[in-house]
Amino acid sequence: MSPLRRAAGLLAATALVSAACATGGGSGTATPAGPSAAPTASQGASATASAAPSAAAVEIDWYHIQNNDPGKALWQELADEYTAEHPNVTINLNVNENEAFKTKLATLVQSNTPPDLFQSWGGGGLREQVEAGLVQDITAGVADWQDTINPGAMGMYQVDGKQYGIPFDLGLVGFWYNTDQFEDAGITEPPATWADLLTAVQALKDAGLTPMALAGGDTWTGAFYWAYLAVRECGQEGMDNAVVTGDWSDPCFVKAGEDFVELIETEPFQEGFLAAKWDGAGSGAASMATGNGAMQLMGQWLPGTVAANSDDPENPPEWLGWFPFPSVDGGAGAATDGLGGGNGFAVGRDAPPETIDFLRFLVSEDAANRWGALNTGILPTTVGTEGSVTDPQLVDVLAGRAEAEFVQLYLDQATTPDLGAAINEAVATLYAGTGTPESVAAAINEFAQQ
């Protein structure tokens, strides 16, 4: 159990890294170098392949970033199984660490030779690749099996209604809470509405507890509040419109800020939260681990990081529970809409048709079940495989995700790293007390229009 736990922690850390792109890590975005590249071997192969898809030898260059076991081994097994069944297909595996992958992909893109199948986070990064003509429209190729994948996750890999990639993992941001402290404060039900949440905050304060831990020093954590409230207030249509057109002037974004200010005015956060990083000494995770913060709005990687900041780094505390972000009265969004992100694969422009078949195999029920059973924090997106995850804390997250028709991708991945950073920075002025809901919305809109 303990090595598995360690791996879970590692993967959680990887997930954190991709989420921490809110601080601008970049979402693997890439733009073209111009139409000057010479045809490559794989392009030649693909030409032959399209002529006779089933018989001719085909090579698929596959880049993934699950560079730690057990995930790495599982991908290898799946590739071996596929090639055993399809002897004409050779799969060239390229395994890179997250940041190394981004660098490598940038190089490949610069030389105008995108891989056939590669890691993607969807959203704004994928959109840039689509606009640069580096990825394939696979809408027709996946038409007869697209229903087997979680629709919220699929949406992140669509650009203008066309499918360019397939997700195999989708995590969700929600409230992690200290069930013991909730009990001490006499709160019996996790808050279902924003008003309930404010009541719970007061109850916790009355019980002498710190209602929330916030890592204000890492501004992407605070931005989760605003982003979630925007999803509630603006709904899918409003969010899509803002992300695609760069027009953030809708009043619903001001409303989101006003809702957040309602919470901020109750002073729910731990002392000195403005300086707290997400992880490490004096961090939001450490705060929660030591009982100084009954709730924290965070992704599915929280248990591992809280554990790492406690006296039992291997095991997430048993008092950790999860509830979905509360509903907001009068908003355009559904109470079940989510905010999250995950991993998937995009199909390169020159990939042979077999790539789509291989991709289908990678997200098949069997493959997804095997991923889920590893309990590494990868939450499979194939419909009906959610039950394969057995870690009780991840099960709660999955239950919340199962309800979501629409999951908004983390704003810094849905847009660009610099707009994402501008959003984080603007939202931080709210809880630092230097900004207003209007000034935040205006700053974001102004930056997006540049």
Binding site: T23, G24, G25, G26, T29, A30, T31, P32, A33, G34, A106, V109, Q110, G216, G217, D218, T219, Q270, E271, G272, F273, L274, A275, A276, K277, G280, A281, G282, P417, D418, A421, E425, A428, T429, A432, T434
Partner: protein, 310 residues
Amino acid sequence: MNSRLNPSRRDRLGRERLTTILLFLLPALILYAIFVLLPIVQAMRFSFFDWNGLQPLTDFVGLDNYVRALTNSVFQGAVGHNVFVIVLSLAIQIPFALGLALLLSRRFKGRGVLRLLFFAPYVIAEVITGVIWTLMLQPNGLADGLLTGAGLGDLYSPWLADPNTVMAAMFVIISWKYFGFHMILLLAGLQQIPSELEEAAAIDGATRFQATRYVVLPLLGPTLRVSVFLSMIGALQLFDLIWVTTGGGPVNASNTMATYMFDWGFERHQLGYGSAVAVILFIFALVVGLAYQRWVLRRDVDGALTGGAA
């Protein structure tokens, strides 16, 4: 002694010596050109483009990046924080180091231990310093605990988490880290001053204060001026300590030009804009450096170079 050689021989010797000098200089010059000059030129070039580091350099925007930086309130704030550290360093940190150096240049028991203790923070890596101070200043940390234990709990506040106090707190950390370095520099300077001069002053009836004020300090001038110079340049380039301790926050309240540049260049992938900020920082440091050399350091340097020829 050159005058004893005939002119042609002198020329040949001169040429040979020049060749030797150039040959010895060459490796250093090449390295300097590749790793210092070229990047500076590159950064200047990038700073005229809107560029995210991936696409080709095509979006020429002229001086837009510079205008944007200089009119941006966050960048102006960062410049202000740099100036804040420079002014306080000169007003507090250097005088403090000077006082300690004067005290520690006297002979007394335990002098060596004290020198070692005061110098120790300088040896600790910036990153570790940042982490240690973060831990000490956080709520329920050492500072909080000590003050509360002494019944002064009300005096504590999470200084690093308050935009109004974060720079003052950072200045304390910076001073703690670097005063030992300036103290050692000044101590070395003090040791260069012959004790006879002080004795002579004493015989002439000067008090200890007068001897220090009118004999020691003027002679310490060159060291002091170098110390001030290093302190200013260090404050202009301030990065690691801030980045580790506050990351430039809360809400940009402790950004310096260097953290601002890193944030935009490498976190937000706006390499064109980040390069413009880097160039501004470079020009800032260059102007300060040259002006200081020209107006303040010149007499020391002149003395050293022209003294022999005269």
